[in-house]
């Protein structure tokens, strides 16, 4: 476990840089997290982030990739264009939702 400093506040993150407490997530924090992923957030990025945040709020898990593609209208290729580390390591991390687990 480690901490990141943002706006004079400390946020706990795990070794992979995922936010320990998703409820602390804010849009400003997302911009900061995106910088660590070398991503400059555009409207298209926000469309995916907002989608993930809402999905997580509603269902308590991250959506499957196919669901994400259908609901956002972005192809898998487009998602990698926007988030080079992919939907899990990239988009979910910036959206502040817990990291994917299992046989990764």
């Amino acid at each position: 476990m480690g901490y990141i400093d943002f706006n004079g506040q400390q946020y706990e993150v795990d070794e992979d840089g995922f936010l320990a407490d998703p409820t602390l997530w804010t849009r400003e924090l997302a911009v900061f997290l995106a910088k660590n992923e070398e991503v400059e957030l555009t409207d298209e990025h926000w469309k995916i982030i907002d989608y993930l945040v809402n999905y997580y709020k509603q269902f308590g898990i991250a959506p499957m990739v196919r669901k994400m593609v259908k609901d956002t209208g972005f192809s898998v290729e487009k998602i990698y264009e926007l988030f080079p580390s992919g939907p899990g390591k990239g988009a979910c991390k910036i959206a502040g939702i817990p990291k994917p687990t299992g046989c990764v």
Binding site: V65, E77, Y80, G88, K89, T101, C103
Partner: protein, 399 residues
């Protein structure tokens, strides 16, 4: 290992089998993470439990797969394995190397990682065992420049593998190495960017001996076969008989369908072609006398998986015979349909075999456009709970 001791592991340097402890100690002379790995492993032997933390999500840019993140749960005690990620490198078909290739790999890994490897992971990849997060991208870049690519991980296509095939086996019914290479290249996107409900594996065996265990360890098993007659060289049969082999006892009586007859007087072996199930036993026993037929191809099977969640499955037949010739279009079209149906219907972490179990073979076959054939089942169903498609039933009022 001057400062700390590994008494339990040291015991495993005794005995005739090559010792992994000896190998790790060699690596530890050059690399601190290999040294800490030994010490942490010794601690695990003492505590009888693993000392790796749960999970880990790391990778390289552009890929969602290929690297397995690992963190020590005692980073203060073993600081050099605080981060100890595994990199999967796609192996060449059949694991054929020249020394120049292996030297390139070793040079990169000695510089960027622990120097420890698995040759190979059970799916087939070269496993580069242990490096730090900040080394991942440089490792990948150097591997890439040297002509290597990462293998699969996560909920995507895993690295395909195949038996040595026609490179050095006279029984191979098609070019397993070429098919493995072709599928790997065709489906790069599906391998590097996981997008499915769960993992999916191909394994390719040249004949039913199944030397890569595809039937047990792949979601789609491609196993070589033939559909004409065994080829029998009677002169060689006589040779085996002269050498004292009990052909009737060891070959004919062991034939599962009793398709072979040995004429003691003429010293000739005859096969009843329509009864042969191509189990390979007679070929295995008399390799100089019996060969597979000439009309060769493969049987396609689906569903093999390990226990979790609903028990272990061996793959079962979906296509009894398919020709296996480049560009393998018929196979690729089938694969695309299977993936489309599975991706559309599968639940999170549901293997394709489990999905077929849940929704039924009928629905699966209709979705991928395969005809139901008797070879798909060992026996017909024993219960009468049979679904009919609405259009198969005559709707009559008052009938």
């Amino acid at each position: 290992m001057e400062d700390k001791k590994t008494p339990l592991l040291d015991q495993l340097e005794q005995g005739p089998w090559p010792s992994f402890v000896t190998e790790m100690k060699k690596a530890a002379e050059k690399d601190d993470s290999a040294k800490d790995l030994l010490l942490q492993l010794e601690q695990s032997y003492v505590d009888k439990k693993g000392h790796w933390k749960h999970g880990g999500i790391v990778g390289v840019r552009g890929y969602g797969a290929g690297v397995i993140g690992r963190y020590s749960d005692s980073p203060e005690e073993f600081p050099h394995v605080a981060e100890f990620h595994t990199v999967r490198v796609n192996q060449p078909s059949g694991w054929f190397y020249n020394t120049a290739t292996l030297r390139k790999l070793c040079d990169i890994w000695e510089k960027r990682g622990s120097g420890l490897t698995n040759l190979h992971g059970s799916t087939g990849d070269v496993i580069l065992l242990g490096t730090k997060t900040d080394q991942l991208q440089p490792t990948f870049d150097e591997l890439s420049d040297a002509g290597f690519d990462l293998g699969g991980s996560g909920s995507g296509l895993r690295t395909p593998s195949c038996c040595c095939g026609p490179a050095r086996c006279e029984w191979s019914c098609f070019d397993t190495l070429d098919l493995c290479n072709d599928l790997t290249h065709t489906f790069q996107n599906q391998m590097h960017r996981p997008m499915w409900p769960y993992k999916f594996k191909f394994k390719i065996s040249g004949c039913p001996n199944d030397c890569v265990a595809s039937i047990a360890r792949a979601d789609l098993s491609i196993i070589g076969t033939w559909r004409d007659s065994l080829r029998i060289d009677q002169e060689q049969v006589k040779e085996y008989a002269r050498s004292g082999m009990d052909i009737r006892g060891e070959v004919c009586e062991k034939c599962p369908t009793k398709a072979l007859k040995f004429d003691e007087k003429a010293q000739e072996l005859q096969v009843k072609v329509e009864d042969c199930t191509r189990c390979m036993h007679c070929i295995n026993r008399m390799p100089k006398a019996i060969r597979p037929g000439v009309d060769k191809g493969a049987t396609i099977l689906i569903g093999g998986k390990a226990t979790i969640l609903r028990s272990a499955f061996l793959s079962w037949v979906i296509v009894p015979f398919m020709k296996m010739e480049p560009p393998y279009q018929e196979l690729k079209d089938l694969i695309d349909k299977i993936w489309e149906w599975w991706d559309e219907n599968g639940k999170t972490r549901e293997r394709v075999g489990e999905l077929i179990y849940r929704l039924g073979m009928g629905n699966f076959l209709r979705a991928v456009g395969l005809p139901p054939v008797p070879q798909m089942v060992r026996e017909p169903r024993a219960n009468p709970y049979i679904f009919w498609q609405a259009n198969e039933v005559e709707r009559g009022e008052g009938k």
